[in-house]
């Protein structure tokens, strides 16, 4: 095992400097197996740079002991920590410092790897004061990224669907890349923030990509081999129609015995090739993808068939709940896309097997900058639920805009309480999944600062109770190590509130979808208003918003548990930021903030654009403090962000001024 070193790609949050504290110590790594080997190799590489030493046996003295509890006789200091700590979960570790020795213990190799990266985050303080044994365990067993990568370049969607960071890191020119060093480096970055699974291909499975399941399986195996040393299991998006398109069967009916046999045999072959294969991801009956509805079967039937094929091998199926009518008649106001996932899936609660995971987008619509939490999440206590986020910034600036998303995710994770035990999203989710924002770009993510979103997703998936501001500082300290002032505080200032800034200059008050159809970049207030996509705001000369109340609207509020059902139903209690998601109100409606709706629109749009201008001014001051090429890239992108924010401001304000006729109370220019 050698540590991947890429000289032509940005180091992201693992620059050499981040390993200085570890690399300058005398370290013992105790334990066998591939992942322990990775830990040893990481420490050895750091030591080679910073003058420390690393051994796998012997008496010391040591400054740092990284040990598996199963590794035989531990040094006395480690044994003492073990006694203090008690049992440790599979991916967990215990950290302590006593008698001048920092100790990381794990009961399994993955835990040791996460313990090492925990030390990387801590840096020098890990080797300073004494420290009681702290237990660190992930909140969920699986922390996963979905890649929407295609092998071929799609004529409309490109190679990475909704990707804003270049081509796929896996495929190029229709074939697996010759050199997969970057894939291993990617695995390393992911392990360092806690990710342990990825699905490598687009959920919209086209003809070429379908074959990854069968005759192109070797490519999956090659990718898995690169990621395995960092504890990451590979999953595959498959088409529900695979028995037809790959197997030559006349049907893909999930209750058909031939179909079930085909899936069982095909899956067995996958596991022969990749014994630690993670499982399948399926987008079925969704935006044109095939699914069980064609055969009059339920989604529990569909997921169950795949779960049954995977179960003998320890695999899981991630079954996406993103099922709605994308050919809706906009004239029909009774149909409500926001209701669709709940209406489809809540009745199926308890019917998904133990290894079937229902993958639910965090909101009822589609990755908007502001949505309520999906009502599905509170409605399926008998189902394993993966909450799906979107690290790739489809609706949040497409990696041209600074938009640090962790504060939004944290709000989603903390949503609640509901039910007798006061549950939150973080309590009921059994895992977290996000769409990756990575491509073959020099900075991995197009916008260099978009790396923070990938990092933060991993960290929140590991511990949903983390403070996003603290995670941001972690990322800054690692990425820009040693992050001198004013770099650290300036970056923090620029990024911490950037999601709310983005919200201010885009669609107001939770109404969403005022983007250009198709590519979804930039404003188009009516772009989706008269389309079949179910994404409307219903603005007229008198008011705006979607009536989703039980009393007079689509009844979507009724899908929420109490107290949220009543909170959202009530015009008085509904939070301002979701007002237009749940209610149609006149422009003169007064918000809790004291402002009218239309004045709020004007004010937030002027403010949002001004905040971007401030952001750009902050960045200008960092010239000379960060790498010049990175500075130039971000500077250029901030110019575009400001242009686009002003475009949003002017279009949204002009639209509502033309419709409402209400002038801005502060007399500012509206085009």
């Amino acid at each position: 095992m050698t540590i991947p070193e890429l000289t032509d790609v940005h180091a992201a949050w693992l620059p050499p400097e981040a390993f200085r504290a570890i690399g300058s110590r005398r370290t013992l790594v105790l334990g066998d197996g591939a992942l322990a080997g990775t830990v040893h190799a990481e420490v050895a590489a750091a030591c080679a740079r910073y003058g420390g030493t690393v051994r796998r046996t012997g008496d010391g003295p040591f400054d740092l002991v990284l040990a598996l509890t199963t590794a035989g006789p531990l040094p006395p200091v480690a044994a003492a920590v073990m006694a203090e700590a008690g049992p440790i979960g599979e991916e967990g570790h215990v950290l302590a410092r006593r008698d001048g020795v920092t100790v990381v213990l794990a009961s399994a190799p993955a835990g040791l790897l996460y313990g090492l990266f925990h030390l990387v985050r801590l840096g020098e303080p890990a080797f300073e004061a004494a420290r009681q044994a702290e237990r660190h365990e992930p909140a969920t067993r699986r922390r996963m990224l979905d890649h929407w990568d295609n092998i071929d370049v799609h004529p409309v969607m490109g190679q990475v669907e909704r990707g804003y960071a270049g081509g796929s890191i896996f495929w190029r020119d229709g074939v697996l890349r010759d050199d997969l060093t970057r894939v291993r480096a990617y695995g390393r970055l992911l392990a360092a923030c806690g990710i342990n699974a990825i699905a490598i291909n687009n959920v919209n499975v086209h003809a070429t990509e379908a074959r990854l399941l069968t005759d192109r399986l070797g490519e999956v195996a090659a990718i898995a081999a690169e990621l395995r040393p960092y504890g990451i299991r590979v999953h595959l998006s498959v088409t529900f129609a695979a028995p037809i398109v790959l197997g030559g069967l006349p049907t893909a009916d999930p209750l058909d015995e031939d179909v079930r046999r085909w899936w069982a045999a095909t899956t067995a072959r996958v596991y022969e090739t990749i014994p630690d294969f993670g499982g399948y991801v399926v987008k079925a009956d969704s935006e044109g993808q095939p699914g069980p509805f064609a055969y009059g079967r339920s989604h529990a039937d569909g997921a169950g068939m795949l779960a049954d094929a995977l179960a003998p091998h320890g695999g899981v199926v991630h079954w996406r709940a993103f099922v709605y009518n994308h050919r809706q008649d906009w004239r029909d106001r009774s149909t409500d896309r926001a209701r669709a996932a709940y209406d489809h899936f809540a009745p199926l609660d308890g019917r998904f097997g133990d290894n079937a995971i229902l993958q639910v987008k965090y909101g009822p619509m589609d990755f908007q900058p502001r949505e309520p939490v999906s009502p599905v999440i509170a409605a399926m206590p008998g189902t394993r639920l993966a909450v799906e986020f979107q690290v790739t910034q489809e609706y949040t600036g497409q990696q041209k805009h600074v938009c640090y998303l962790a504060p939004m995710w944290r709000e989603v994770l903390g949503f609640g309480p509901w039910g007798p035990e006061g549950a939150t999203v973080a309590d009921v989710a059994t895992e977290f999944v996000a769409v990756s924002n990575v491509g073959d770009d020099l900075y991995w993510t197009g916008h260099p600062l978009a790396q923070a979103n990938l990092y933060a997703f991993g960290r929140l998936a590991w511990d949903p109770r983390l403070d996003p501001a603290a995670v941001l500082d972690e990322w800054i300290d690692l990425t820009f190590a040693p992050s001198p002032e004013p770099l650290r505080s300036t970056l923090h200032t620029m990024m911490d509130g950037s999601w709310r800034t983005y919200e201010r200059y885009t669609a107001p008050l939770g109404v969403g979808f005022m983007v250009r159809p198709g590519h979804h970049y930039g404003p188009d207030v009516d772009g989706y208003e008269y389309t079949p996509w179910g994404t409307y705001h219903f603005a007229d000369r008198d008011g705006v918003g979607v009536d989703r109340t039980r009393a007079t609207g689509t009844g979507c509020t009724g899908q929420y548990p109490q107290p949220w059902s009543d909170v959202y139903e009530s015009l008085e209690q509904c939070p301002d930021e979701l007002l237009l998601f749940f209610h149609h109100v006149p422009y003169g409606h007064v918000l809790h903030s004291g402002s009218t709706v239309v004045q709020h629109i004007y004010d937030t749009h002027f403010a949002g654009a001004e905040e971007v201008a401030d952001m750009r001014a902050h960045w200008d001051k960092l010239e000379g403090l960060v790498d010049p090429a990175l500075h130039a890239r971000v500077k250029e992108l901030l110019d575009e962000q400001l242009r686009c924010a002003e475009e949003w401001r002017d279009q949204v304000n002009a639209y509502f001024f033309r419709k409402s006729g209400v002038p801005d109370a502060r007399g500012r220019r509206i085009p």
Copy 2:
């Protein structure tokens, strides 16, 4: 010369039946040369089918004499006609019938060919009553189609840009087609309606297509060889940057001597290969295409350079006047795209050489279903002008909708009078050009009834004073020969008013551009409202329309000659159908029709959709009277047209109802 016979492509307006009258006669074809050979071959093919005879010498008796006046001793009856007729122009012919013999005389072979097709149009009546000598001459020397075909399939625009009839008839899979029989058949169709020139490739010249000028010139020659027997000369769209991208020069400056030499040498090589090559078509400084502005030169400089290169060989350059700022700031109400062509080109009048033709779109915007005539046309008496139409239905239903365009073109051609001599567009245009609607579709044009537009363009280009309704009947009689009732009258009813029907259900009162951005199909009222394209309607809660007056607007009305400048300037005199093109008015403004603007919008949109429903009902009655496959194709397309017309109706009505708050006076449902 053999007549191209395609069994797998629709015969369009030249089915065998159309040749019955000629094919059952005893015919003499007198004259030498390739085109006379074509005439002979056409008559021979018809005779083979219908039992007539054809000879190239001899004494008769004959029923029909087709003769070149230069062909030596004419039969006495022909000599008598010649004496009566006097001189005949190069492409003209004289038709007479005396002593039981029908005589067609021409002074040049092309005239004989057009005379033959004139007989085809006449059918049996050409051989009935005696007929005084009638002279038929084309109004203009060149009647041309522009193909927007690419060699390669463009990832966004497809192979034929704005094409709705499949791929290119010239190229397939990146190379010239092996079998060019269809190209010859196309030439035959074009000759039969009077076209005598085509530009074979897209005015947006991409990298591959640029090379048609040099190393892929053989493909142009091959196409020219297929079209030559039907009197059609081939032109080529070239990129202004050719000296750089093909010639390796550092500049394309039209005043640079190296550049001029490169064009002269390159053009000479073209003529060595294709001695009757027509010339170049250039889209310069337009929507991203390169042009003389980059070098601080005028468009007269640019066109002049190419004209100079072509002049020694008798070629011409078509220089498009479609120059405007496509990156306009929508917030800037003083910039007006409708002014752009005039502002750019009118000052250059007189500076274009004799073989430079300024190609001007018929309206000041871009092929909308309703625009005023371009003010450029009346403003450049010292310049040769080609008026450009769009047979391909980019903005008029994309060959999914029945929309017979000849009535619109006829209105444009008849526009005027202006100036001391009472000129019209037809008087000042020196030629007519249109974008072709043809592809490799079974019916040539996607929608079988869209063939009528191609036919009618050729006929109007030949004689701009023809009645579009009569041309429609010609097309019906040829295409559906022998066109029994009720087929003939039903088709006429469906098609004759179809452009006005289309206008009724789409953008109202000349305001235009309420289409989906990008592909331009279907409604999106605000789709272009906040974009850089210069295509706005400025609807707010009080009113709608673009103020282009001199008094308070952009001054576009001032570009028109009197009396039109004052007519358009005046709210009272401006024709209803152009009201919103020139004026911004309140929704309550009363039209000449007596209706308010908003009620007119409602009424026309309900009426337009109803008319499409009627059209479909008419078509249903023709089942069994036309070829079943053709009937099925049109039936399916009419379903789509009705769906789309209802979508237009509902979106436009809903948009204006939401904005104006004015209910429909007749209480109909507006979503």
